[in-house]
Structures are given as C-alpha cells and as structure tokens.
C-alpha cells in the first residue's frame, strides 16, 4: 500500500463558490403507510465530513436516495450545491461519487469491465487513478463481480465512487464487509479526499468510524434527526462512567445528592455512577474526602448514541 495519497491529491472539479454542499428542509418520504423520513432538516458544509448515523430503518438510505434522485420526496426540499436533484440530477450526479447501502453490482462482468463501462458513462476515468485505488484496496479487478465477497464488492463500489474525484462523496455504510485493515485504509481515503476539498456525506452505524472520520454528525432515529453537532459536542452530551475508591467509608447520601450523577452505587468505600454535564459538583464533593483512586472514562460517540436512543425511545 505504498501508493497512498498520490491518487487522491488532485483537487475536485470546481464547485460553485458559496452555500452548503447539501441543504435539506423538512424532508419527508412515505412509502405507502410507512413514514420512512418524517421531516428532517440538514445542512452539510462544503469540504466537511458529515456523519449520518442511526440504526437500521432510521431513514438514512431513504434520505440518501432522495439526494441522488433515485426516489422522490413526499414533501420538503433538497438542494445539492444549490441545485434541485430532481431537475438537475444528471449534472449533479456528475459531481457525486456514491456507494449504495444495499449494494448490488451488475453481474456477468468482471470488476474491470464494470469500471470501464462506468468510465464510458462518466466520460472517462483516469486509469492511473483507478489502478492506484485498486492496488490500495488490494483488489483483483479481473474477477467476475458475482464471485466477489460482500467486502470485495464494497471495494468495487468504493473504487467507482472515489475514482472520478467527485465534489461530493455520498457513502452509505461504505465499510460493511471490509476487514479492519481496509476500514482503516478507507478512513485515510476519506481524510485525503476531504483535504483535497471533497465534501463527504458518510452514513454509518459503525460509530468508531464516524468518530474518527467525521467533523459533524447528525443522529437519525425513526425518520427524525434526534440531534446534530460536532463529534466533540455530541461526546460532551454523553454520559461518562465514573468510579471512585475512597480511603475511608463515606456517607452514601452525600454522594447520591451530587447533581448530574445517575445509576449511583455506593458500596463501602466505592462509588460507581454515570455522569452527564459538568464535572465540578463531583470534584467539590470528592475534595472533602481522601480519594484512593478515580476513574472517569472518556465518553465516546457510542455512549452518546446509545443515550440518544434511550432518550428518544
């Protein structure tokens, strides 16, 4: 994997100078009786990596398929680079690289034949770049697509998405089926693409991946956005697990009254709890007692995510 970043260094096609890459207002999509998306607002800035997280069935793929004009919103508006995907879909898709969530590649051809076919449809892909990405993802382009494992199929889709150097990458569960090494490589490719000016819309339920790759995150649940913000903000809202060992027995009532503590367990000289909000009140109480050891776990997005789910359900 010595090819590394060279393939991704070229700048993307010139984008219109201002405005967000994606702006979604009051988007709703209904399939018969099912409301898949129930009125979401979303703004993805140019050049950022935007994480779009939520459990299966939350409406992530539905939103994404609206962005590409594969399906049409029931109500609401969508702008991608200031244009309506319904009206300017061809021009917009020329600026978008897409990895589908439920990925089904055309059959009866090898990966190379598929890449060539897509290259013709897109008016040419840089062959050097295609080869570089293929080497980087350790792909064998001469195998028929139908014989590929799901991870290897995903690599073909990643290749097709990254090769045109699009202004916008829309990636729906892009690493499912990839081994950890390739997931790591994928994160690097996303970072390099962003450094080159590409906007990345990254849908995933692999939270560690979003945590590592994304600047901002929106959490979707049951067709609604539960929260959005920077990864740090989201982490700040998460509960932290704390565990304190005191040198002597302490008064349980005093510990239980600390604001922000939940699930508090006082067991002789040990205090275990989860905490949200500022850490000050805890520190104030601890300062009055001899503390033998103190553990405050760093909150991660997974905790924030699970909290949001707990709140919403």
């Amino acid at each position: 994997m010595t090819v590394s970043s060279a393939a991704l260094e070229q700048p993307p096609l010139a984008a219109a100078p201002s405005g967000p890459a994606i702006r979604v207002r009051a988007l709703a999509k209904r399939f018969g009786a099912v409301e898949a998306v129930r009125g979401i607002d979303l703004e993805v800035r140019r050049g950022e990596v935007f994480g779009f997280v939520g459990p299966n069935g939350a409406g992530k793929s539905t939103t994404i398929r609206c962005l590409l004009d594969l399906i049409r919103p029931t109500s609401g508006t969508i702008e991608v680079f200031g244009r309506d995907p319904r009206r300017d879909g061809v021009a917009l898709r020329g600026r978008i690289g897409y990895v589908a969530g439920e990925l089904r590649l055309p059959e009866r051809m090898t990966s190379r034949q598929l890449v060539r076919s897509i290259s013709r449809l897109r008016g040419g892909l840089d062959e050097g770049r295609v080869d570089a990405i293929a080497r980087r993802l350790q792909m064998d382009l001469d195998r028929p697509t139908r014989d590929l494992s799901s991870g290897n199929r995903r690599k073909v889709a990643l290749l097709l998405a990254f090769a045109p150097m699009p202004d916008l990458l829309i990636l729906d569960e892009p690493t499912s089926g990839l081994d950890p090494l390739m997931q790591h490589e994928f994160i690097r490719m996303v970072a390099e693409a962003r450094d080159a000016g590409t906007t990345v819309f990254l849908s995933s339920h692999v939270l560690s991946e979003v945590q590592r790759a994304a600047d901002r995150v929106a959490v979707l649940r049951a067709g609604l956005i539960v929260t959005q913000g920077t990864v740090d903000e989201l982490r700040g809202r998460a509960r932290q697990r704390i565990e304190v060992w005191f040198a002597d027995d302490v008064d349980g009532a005093e510990l239980r009254s600390i604001p922000g503590l939940e699930d508090t367990v006082v067991d002789g000289r040990r205090l275990a709890a989860t905490m949200s909000g500022p850490v000050d009140p805890l520190v104030a109480v601890l300062s009055r007692h001899p503390v033998a050891s103190l553990v405050i776990e760093e909150p991660n997005l997974e905790d924030a995510f699970l909290d949001l789910y707990g709140d919403a359900s």
Binding site: S61, R65, L68, L70, I71, R72, G89, V90, A91, R93, G94, I96, Y98, A100, E102, L103, R104, L105, P106, E107, R108, M109, L114, S117, I118, R120, L121, R122, G123, A157, L160
Partner: protein, 267 residues
C-alpha cells in the same frame, strides 16, 4: 465510445447468453422441423386426413395446404410455435433488462451516474430491439439454409416477410412488457402480462373465428395483423408492419413516462 452507445451495448452484452440460448433452441426447432419436409412431401395420408377436418378447425390451427411448402411451414412453425416462443423470449429479454434488474437493485449503479432516467430506459429498449433484430436475422438464416438443404421450395421473399413479421409481433409484446416495467418494477408481473398478452392474442386470433359473434373481434389480435394475411403465401401489406411497429413505439414511450416519474426500487 460515448455514453449513449455504452448505455445500449452494455445491456446487450449482458444478453449474449440469452441470445445464444434462445437462438440455439429456436434454430434447432426450425432446422429439425424442416428436416421432416421430404417425408411429408411424399405422403398424401396427412393431407387427406386434414381435408376431412372441418374447414374452421383447419383454419384455426393453420393446417390449410399442409402438403405444400408454405402450408407445411405455416402449420408446423409460423402459425403458433415460432411466433409464440420468439415473443416469450423477447418479453423475457425486456424484463431481464428492466424490471428484473431494478428489482435486484442492479440499476442503481447506473442510475447514480450522470445519466438521465429517460436515456437509460430508452437505451435498454433499443437493446431489446437489437437483441430481437439479431435473433430474427439468425432464425431467418437458419430457415433459408434449412430450406435450401432439404429442397423445400418456397419464395425467399415470403419467408423473409414471415420471419420479420414474427419478429415485429414479438417486439410488440416485448414493448408491452417494457411499458409495464416502466411503471411497475415487478418482474413476475411484467413477465406474466407480456406472456399472457402473447398467448391471449393467439387464442383470440385462432379461436374467435370459430364463433360467429366473436369472429369480428379476432381482428383485435396483433397475431391477426401479423399473420392474418398468410404471409408465406401472399405478400404482406405494408400496414401489417406499421400496425406492429407504431404501437411498439408508443408502448416504449409509455414505459419511459412511467420510469421517469416514479421511485427507483431499492434492493
């Protein structure tokens, strides 16, 4: 090669195996059937047996003149089995390139490219047409070569016209399948409607004439438009070709109108 050409040739490449499979099957049917001609030519028994059938039945099953080259080909091949199988093959090809692909989620790779939906659907309709052109041309060659080999003496122009009409009849049912596929990505339904229309059309053309009140309605069947003039014997009038081609073009337009309006099905 430009994008438009790729949109047509890509799907056509996918259909190579189906072209080969149906070509071998239908070609063998024609070749083997024609190989029996020398035996028929020499036997008067079958012609006499047919002469004893009620005239309506003879017409319904295309048995008139069974002992003549044209009657032999009509009764054994072009009255029913070749047009029907060709129609089924064409409906399957149309379904395979549109609703079956969409239902399996395999169109999304293309529709997420800078391609208009209209272009993709039209290109695939053209691919179905070219598939049928290749198939019809192949069957025509098999028919003409077989005739020459066994000495079945028939006017080449009549054979060409008959096979072309078969191809256009199949095209009509294939475009009906495309029209349905444009609106509803349900492969089973697309196949069922296409094949039911082909079989139903045959039954209307063959059986309605047996009943006086239904007879006038037999003219509604495309089979009647294609084969009603007995093209192996008489030169087919130009309207017969147009009657098949014009609705086919309209049906493709109907399919496009549906495909650009609705959601693309997810896998």
């Amino acid at each position: 090669m430009n994008a438009g050409l790729e949109l047509v040739l890509g799907p056509l490449r996918q259909m190579r195996r189906s072209l080969l499979g149906w070509g071998i099957g239908l070609g063998a049917l024609i070749g083997v059937t024609v190989a029996f001609w020398p035996a028929f030519r020499g036997s008067s028994g079958i012609s006499e047996a047919i002469d004893n059938l009620p005239p309506a039945v003879v017409d319904a099953f295309g048995l008139a003149g069974f002992g003549t080259p044209a009657g032999f080909l009509r009764g054994n091949l072009y009255e029913f089995i070749v047009p029907l199988l060709l129609a089924v093959a064409a409906v399957a090809a149309a379904n395979g390139l549109t609703s079956a692909e969409e239902d399996a989620g395999r169109l999304e790779t293309y529709l997420s490219q800078p391609i208009a939906r209209r272009s993709l659907f039209l290109a695939r309709s053209v691919a179905v047409f070219l598939w049928l052109v290749l198939m019809t041309a192949f069957l025509l060659v098999v028919q003409l070569v077989s005739d020459a080999v066994v000495g079945l003496d028939i006017d080449t122009a009549r054979v060409v016209s008959t096979v072309v009409l078969c191809g256009l009849l199949a095209l009509l049912f294939a475009t009906l399948a495309l029209a349905v596929a444009g609106w509803l990505p349900r492969p089973a339904l697309v196949l069922a409607i296409g094949i039911a229309a082909a079989v139903g059309g045959y039954l209307v053309a063959a059986l309605f004439p047996l009943s006086d009140p239904l007879d006038p309605l037999s003219g509604l069947s495309p089979w009647k438009w294609a084969m009603g003039g007995d093209p192996l014997v008489n030169a087919a009038e130009p309207w017969r070709y147009l009657a098949l081609v014009v609705p086919a073009v309209i049906l493709v337009a109907v399919g496009v109108a549906g495909f650009i309006r609705r959601d693309v099905r997810a896998a």
